[in-house]
Symmetry: C2
Subunit: 369 residues, 2 copies
């Protein structure tokens, strides 16, 4: 079977950092091997840096980012709790579905897609919510919202933040911003294959948690001991592991390698690299005559959205790019499926040469597809 090599310039997964790919193929370790547990500890510690948190309970959940979303709600929603959820794209919508299944009374604050979250409207939506939730970087629209402002205005509510497309790409400071629970994915700016959900929860949220959540697999009360969190909140001390489930060891070792690469470069340098790549792409797209979709001032450098020009067949262009150049860009989502493109420059792909390639390929496709 021929092996396909792809330029992954869609909304994720992105091409992993080479170190992360190499780590996947290393000799496999057992999930209780001291050598693995040391790597898990280091992974959790590096994740704290990536999140901007000192939360002891910071770990990679053993499933994809959407399971991180589920873990956030299933562990914190008590029956009938009011959850105010900012909806400015698909992942805000998904939060509403997940929270409702967990028994929340959901107050959805709808926004026009392509616009950031309006903090004022969100905090005024209910006088006393148990939970406020918002997406930091909406993967469906390429929009950044201001989580710090939301954190400052949250009152007594717990703030749940989706950082799937922001972590490792743009500024993220969970503790400074008042994020109580955050979840992410590995396959975007962290530059690792999909399969894990980096997760963090602070003491305040953990103390209010559901004692026995409906999900066994995502029960944070049991997972703390699995990941060897420092001895807080009645959990065993560091190194005193209890068996919960078999850790996906290859994926964790790969995440370890990706995070090590990022921290070696320096987190702020990595953010700057994404910023520069995004600016270079935006300028190039403007030269091609393409109009941005996301609101000005809130555009994600790691995921740029543009409108498909009138008269151009979106699918034809994407198919041409994939077949001729092995290059993937994303379609839009929902009502924008055929009228928006999403171009990601995430993790290892946030590079000047990657920008040149995607611009040249897109020009070729617009001319010849």
């Amino acid at each position: 079977m021929a092996i396909r090599e792809r330029h992954l310039f869609g909304p994720g997964p992105s091409n992993p950092y080479p170190e992360a790919t190499d780590a996947l193929a290393r000799p496999l370790l057992g999930h209780l091997d001291p050598a693995f547990l040391a790597l898990m500890d280091e992974t959790c510690e590096m994740l704290r840096t990536a999140w901007g948190t000192s939360n002891a309970r910071t770990l990679p959940l053993s499933a994809t980012g959407s399971a991180g979303m589920e873990a956030a709600f299933v562990n914190t929603v008590h029956p009938g709790d009011v959850a105010v959820i900012a909806v400015n794209g698909l992942f805000g919508q998904r939060m509403c579905d997940v929270a409702a299944r967990c028994g929340a009374e959901v107050v959805a604050v709808e926004h026009e897609w392509g616009r950031p979250v309006d903090v004022q409207r969100v905090v005024e939506a209910h006088p006393n919510p148990a939970i406020i939730a918002a997406v930091h970087a909406e993967t469906s629209t390429g929009v950044r919202s201001d989580i710090a402002d939301l954190g400052a205005a949250k009152g007594d509510a717990l703030l749940i933040t989706d950082a799937v497309t922001s972590i490792g790409g743009i500024e993220l400071r969970a503790d400074d911003w008042g994020v109580d629970i955050g979840y992410a994915g590995t396959q975007k700016c962290l530059g690792v294959a999909p399969g894990l959900a980096p997760f963090t929860i602070n003491d305040r949220a953990f103390e209010r948690r559901v004692e026995k959540p409906r999900s066994w697999y995502l029960d944070l009360g049991m997972l703390g001991a699995y990941a060897g969190e420092a001895g807080v909140g009645g959990a065993p001390g560091k190194g005193q592991r209890t068996y919960h489930h078999t850790a996906p060891t290859a994926m964790v070792v790969s995440l370890h390698a990706g995070l090590a690469r990022i921290l070696e470069e320096g987190l702020e340098n990595v953010w700057a690299r994404h910023e520069a790549a995004g600016a270079q792409l935006a300028a190039g797209l403007q030269e091609l005559g393409l109009e941005p979709f996301a609101a000005e001032g809130y555009r994600l450098p790691e995921l740029t959205t543009v409108k498909v020009p009138d008269g151009v067949d979106s699918g034809k262009v994407r198919g041409y790019l994939l077949e001729r150049h092995g290059l993937e860009i994303g379609s839009g989502v929902g009502q924008y499926a055929a009228t928006v493109w999403r171009i990601g420059l995430m993790g290892h792909n946030a590079r000047p040469d990657a920008v040149l390639l995607v611009l040249a390929a897109l020009k070729d496709a617009l001319d010849n597809a």
Copy 2:
């Protein structure tokens, strides 16, 4: 950092088939890439063979085996449903916890650990259960139970079967045996790293499913379209995918490679290879004077349990094996933690040379640890 190489002769993960490891490091594919979707289709088809099923809804769930257990119950337990669960080890116990969180009225049928499931006691435990559940191969004790007999006696109940440690190692015929829902893991006899839960559900069970389960991530109604199941039960036709979550593409491609290796050898040949390796190990352990733990006639060839000899420190032996020989065997579980060893010969490790090595190393440890 020095890379550790381990002989994984514990209860799993096992050393993957080389093809599965190589596949992990292949250039990453996007989760909607036609090349990936073709591999996913083939993976589901090969899983059908491994399960012994023609169920359209056969797919790798994007989390570890324990999430497969959760998916089985969360999709089938309606509030107050009676679930009769055979408990002859840790994983039967876990089923009770998971089923109860899903709202089941659990009737646990307790067995002595080390013994197989007593089908008669299970079917007589309740006159009309909605669900009967049992573990095919108990990883905690090394015991095989007779699922065919349970399937023949299940009546109108749905039969849920844990095949985590049996799939790809010993005879498994889900359809012939009357299994309605089955879940497994990749890291045992399938010879792939941990991280996915091969899952199957037949039409009968799917029709009785919970319309909107409490888990969004594991909602089989949504997952069918994700995996491109053949057009049954109102799902889109093959190839008509809908986006649910980002598939862990590297892990799926690795599972594809592991399954291809198994099916190239021939499933029955692979079973015979496990049988032979287990018999060779059992004979060698007897020569070493070690006494089996699992009941005779129900011993798993892929996971052999023996009693730790009187006066021997289990942890010291295991530590010696790991440090001196890079070789992992498992401790016992629960009350048998210090008094039982679990020695796995799974997937790629079900080989004569592996048996020689583990026996020689164990002899060395017993003499010198």
